[in-house]
Symmetry: C2
Subunit: 319 residues, 2 copies
């Protein structure tokens, strides 16, 4: 069993690579829910949706979120009605939010709702939200205390970031199966997601970091940073605000208490040498993921280092 | 001020005619809400929507419900997720239900939500739900006690009807403005809607029938029956179950305690003669409404009989 800790966009690309390499039932994704928010009265879980859609092979790879080929007619109608329209929900995507909201309103947990929807979409990998309790990533800026989606989508991550907190994290518990999956995994992979607001909320749920520290599984992270910049999104500013260098050294620092292997870009081979040590191996390769082939190549590199046996087992029929 | 009591499909056609003849702010529609139901966790008010859309000039005249040119991608996605899909909600239409559901969940009344949405869509006529309280049309059939939409849409009105009741009606009150609008109207028009399940629920709200009996306004109904058949839909079976003849005599009977004028089809001129009496005038004309011209013609006939002065006042500029 391979476990991947992941956020949405960058993480979904990596998961897209993984699903092409290993049998889907061998994969468990533990997904950030710090970005979850209410939208038009519906419960939206952006990262869970992206991971569900990529595993169902319906993710729009052009946009990196939402359903492939989706339309936005309801969104336009909401805009015409004077309602907020800064968070783009497609018409097909809306079905997921409607169904999840109904399941939650009937008392089902987010885990239950997630697995129900995934199963209906034909997904056989396990998708676990990090917690069934509400943990909300809040970004403190001069413009106010923003939800992650307000900071990221509504305001285009232009605000200076003063601090980041995960409201509700201290009282949260890992969703059922999360710590067990980490404990029994052959390898735990950390997707090239933002370490502060995609992986950070997962690590903030009491019990998950401890599970990562104590598991026997090999633990490998793919860097979301090349040189001194994020491959995409606001990771650089958020890392600075969290007191991390914007570099592979900052990534190594974020995961230092449990990481075995850091996979960095060839561009960072000099820094990689200085980070290499007793407790951490740093490997360099081309980590940019644009095409499907790129995604499978990066996923293969991670598996080859953290769990080569699964590639041998799956060598026929899954490529 | 002209008041129209109306359901959805047939009523919307008649309202479409009216809006072409009189200044919109001179029109108040009192609308059936007995068909309202929860769908995908949203509060749907089919007749209120049809009347809102026709007055906003966005009703699909092809289908007779929903938004013109709408798509059904969310519906298909819901079907793919294994959810019920027998009630067709378009993607643009969905915005109305999402917004109404949010307004209601914030404690707004159905009247408030209706006028808020209508105003956002540019409607200047008044649209009043018959009541802000839940009155649910229930159809007793051998297949069970069905909601109106289950009977009508899901099961194609094929079930024998044993009885009709309006659950909640006895405790309901007219929505604010309903009885006042009737009391102060120049004329009250009853759209060619089903007398049992479209106009019936309105009349079942305590206080509305009394307001119709006591108003000084002329009261005219357009028959939804030609010969011994409904122009469309399940009116015939429902009238039989309610103990009414399927004929203009049955319509006259349904409204006998307040109706002044019945507008019937030319095909019914023989029956019309025998119904004509001290308390009821029956006028025959072509009442079929297929084209926009038909709708305006029927509306003009009703206004000419019930309130000719408004046609004179509006003779310039609104035709």
């Amino acid at each position: 069993m391979i476990v991947v800790l992941t956020g949405g966009t960058g993480g979904a690309k990596f998961v897209d690579g993984l699903r092409r390499l290993i049998p889907p039932e061998e994969l468990t994704a533990i997904v950030n829910t710090g970005d979850d928010h209410e939208w038009w009265g519906l419960y939206v879980s952006p990262d869970v949706d992206s991971i569900t859609y990529v595993l169902a092979d319906i993710l729009s790879s052009e946009r990196g979120w939402g359903v492939r080929g989706d339309t936005f007619h309801c969104l336009q109608a909401m805009k015409d009605l004077g309602e907020p329209a800064w968070f783009s929900v497609g018409d097909r995507d809306l079905a997921t939010h409607l169904l999840r909201t109904q399941l939650l309103s009937k008392g089902r947990t987010l885990s239950d709702a997630t697995s129900y929807i995934a199963q209906k979409l034909g997904v056989t990998s396990r998708i676990l939200p990090m917690s069934d309790m509400r943990v909300e990533t809040r970004i403190d800026t001069p413009a106010g205390d923003l939800s992650f989606e307000e900071y990221f989508v509504k305001r285009w991550y232009q605000d200076p970031v003063r601090a980041i907190r995960f409201a509700g994290a201290s009282e949260a518990e890992p969703a059922p199966g999360v710590t067990e999956a980490i404990a029994s995994a052959q390898a735990v992979l950390i997707a090239p997601s933002n370490p502060v607001t995609s992986i950070g909320p997962i690590l903030a749920v009491p019990g998950i970091r401890e599970a990562l520290q104590t598991t026997q599984a090999k633990m490998a992270a793919i860097s979301p940073i090349i040189g001194n910049a994020a491959v995409s999104g606001p990771a650089a500013n958020l890392m600075l605000a969290a007191g991390l260098q914007v570099s592979i050294a900052g990534i190594a620092e974020a995961y230092k208490d449990f990481l075995d292997i850091l996979i960095a870009d060839d561009a960072d081979s000099a820094s990689a040498q200085s980070l290499n040590g007793n407790h951490l191996q740093v490997h360099c390769t081309n980590i940019l993921m644009r095409s499907s082939d790129d995604k499978a190549r990066v996923a293969r590199a991670a598996l080859a280092l953290a769990c080569p046996e699964i590639l041998t087992e799956s060598a026929t029929g899954n490529q």
